[in-house]
């Protein structure tokens, strides 16, 4: 299986898992009106949309240029999820949701305007590496938060979530050299493996945690 085909498999796995978490989050949100669940649901929406856009961009003939949208969108989505964890006040969470919706909507401009953005962007090695691997940063923050929560109160949920996000973060982080060195498909595939495992772990946390 080629690296690109495996990337598509990874994308499908991520989309399926994220859609499941998203639907469940919105279902429970409808019953409990817990704003934190809304943030989770919106985060998953963004992950699903960016991943689909990325896959579509890689597999169609016209130049979609969804890289900006993919990298920035996922970073912002994870950042909002992290921000939703650090404060439980209802007023704070409601404000956060408003910002998340506004920023996410703005990010769609990146997708729509993608073809008009610098075509050279994907070939800019270092910049692309920073944007791509930058997604690891909020994941590591989330992971640290969950490990702190686990130390405070040992629950299976926090352990699985912490482990899931550290693995996803590593998956993003390790593909950094891929954009600078001559394309290393082994690194890309390893990163994709890690992201599948990390997302599966999030799913397990949501079902079994």
């Amino acid at each position: 299986m080629s690296a690109n085909t495996f990337a598509t498999v990874r994308a499908i796995a991520v989309v399926v898992i994220s859609v499941f978490i998203m639907l469940r989050a919105f279902q429970v949100y409808a019953q409990t009106r817990s704003t934190r669940l809304l943030v989770l649901g919106l985060t998953m929406v963004m992950i699903v949309v960016t991943t689909i856009a990325d896959v579509t961009g890689n597999n169609i003939t016209f130049h979609l240029n969804a890289y900006w949208f993919n990298y920035v969108g996922q970073t912002v989505a994870f950042a909002f999820f992290f921000l939703s964890l650090i404060n439980s006040s209802e007023a704070y969470l409601r404000k956060l949701v408003r910002w998340q919706i506004a920023l996410s909507a703005l990010l769609f401009i990146l997708l729509i305007e993608g073809p008009a953005l610098p075509h050279a962007f994907p070939t800019l090695g270092l910049l692309r590496a920073i944007f791509s691997s930058g997604r690891a940063l909020p994941c590591f923050f989330i992971c640290l938060y969950y490990f702190a929560a686990f130390v405070k109160k040992e629950t299976r949920f926090s352990l699985l979530m912490g482990a899931g996000f550290v693995i996803i973060g590593l998956g993003y982080y390790m593909i950094f050299p891929r954009y600078i060195e001559p394309p290393s498909y082994a690194i890309q595939t390893a990163g994709d493996y890690l992201r599948i495992i990390g997302n599966a772990m999030l799913l397990v946390a949501m079902i079994w945690g």
């Binding site: 934190r36 989770l40 964890l85 209802e90």
Partner: protein
């Protein structure tokens, strides 16, 4: 005393006349009074009716078993009966009255926003109470002696609320009337220690008048901040969902601002149904109950009250 004798339109231009008329009426009615509570009631009604005062409260200093002073609301009158008594009887008023008593001074006319916390001020402003002032009243009392009536030293604070800045003569007239009333009460033998029965009968007239309103109706339920949700507890687990449909319906509408009565209106459920739902939510630690000014309420006793 009718409003017609010194009506609203004339008193601004003729505060002296108004003061004179109220004084005359005071001298007339005080002869039939037997206790200071009756006087406070008359004063508060009069201030509300003729001095453009929206709410008048008389707080009287009392001493508890340990010798500590505390302020007890003796009388409350309000132009607007829609003001919830939980707002009008709230702790910040008692605290302010206590401070006025300890300073032994008056509070000049001030914006409620400058006197109360922003939350309390905005609550008062919702009911049109933008200005407030306070008068400190005290009588010296008399030590017990043979053949003489023992007068109780009395310290009281009148809290006055206005919806607009009153004419400059109005606070002066109020001050004059209150001081005169206290002197007359002292000389007329009204300042004898009140019995609980008297106090309850007269002093809490306002509360009695609103007895039909459930104490729960004015309570504001708030969702409990679940800091563990999503960090230590799985928010998507089955236990995260409220099993009871009724409780779930009420919980959806709880936003930390709606009172129980408003929740009944929004959900179109009866008070009994909402009470049942609140009981479930309380038992599951999903909500907490607060009074109108944000003080925690004992949920169990309130829910049992109905």
């Amino acid at each position: 005393m009718s409003r017609g004798g010194y009506g609203d339109s004339s008193y601004r231009g003729n505060a002296g006349k108004l003061r004179m008329a109220v004084t005359t009426e005071l001298l007339r009615v005080i002869r039939d009074m037997r206790h200071a509570d009756e006087l406070f009631q008359w004063l508060s009604d009069t201030l509300v009716q003729h001095f453009d005062t929206q709410v008048v409260q008389f707080w009287v200093a009392q001493v508890d078993h340990q010798g500590q002073y505390f302020m007890k609301l003796q009388v409350l009158s309000s132009q607007d009966n829609s003001i919830p008594y939980r707002v009008a009887l709230s702790k910040p008023f008692a605290d302010l009255a206590g401070e006025i008593r300890s300073w032994q001074t008056e509070l000049p006319l001030s914006l409620t926003g400058n006197v109360f916390s922003s939350f309390q001020a905005s609550l008062l402003q919702r009911y049109g109470l933008y200005y407030c002032s306070a008068e400190y009243l005290s009588s010296k009392g008399q030590p017990p002696s043979v053949g003489r009536t023992t007068f109780m030293p009395l310290e009281a604070v009148a809290l006055l609320f206005f919806n607009q800045s009153p004419h400059v003569e109005i606070p002066k007239s109020i001050n004059y009337v209150l001081k005169l009333a206290l002197q007359l009460a002292e000389s007329g033998g009204l300042l004898v220690p009140p019995t609980d029965a008297q106090s309850n009968e007269v002093g809490y007239k306002h509360q009695v008048a609103q007895k039909g309103v459930s104490p729960l109706a004015e309570v504001v339920p708030r969702r409990t901040e679940n800091t563990d949700l999503m960090t230590a507890n799985n928010p998507l687990a089955r236990h995260a969902i409220i099993a009871d449909k009724l409780a779930r319906r009420v919980y959806k509408e709880i936003d930390g601002r709606n009172t129980v009565q408003e929740l009944c209106d929004i959900t179109q459920l009866s008070m009994t149904e909402v009470r049942k739902a609140l009981r479930i939510l309380l038992n599951e630690h999903r909500i907490e109950l607060f009074d109108a000014i944000g003080q925690p309420e004992d949920g169990s006793s309130l829910l049992d009250d109905l």
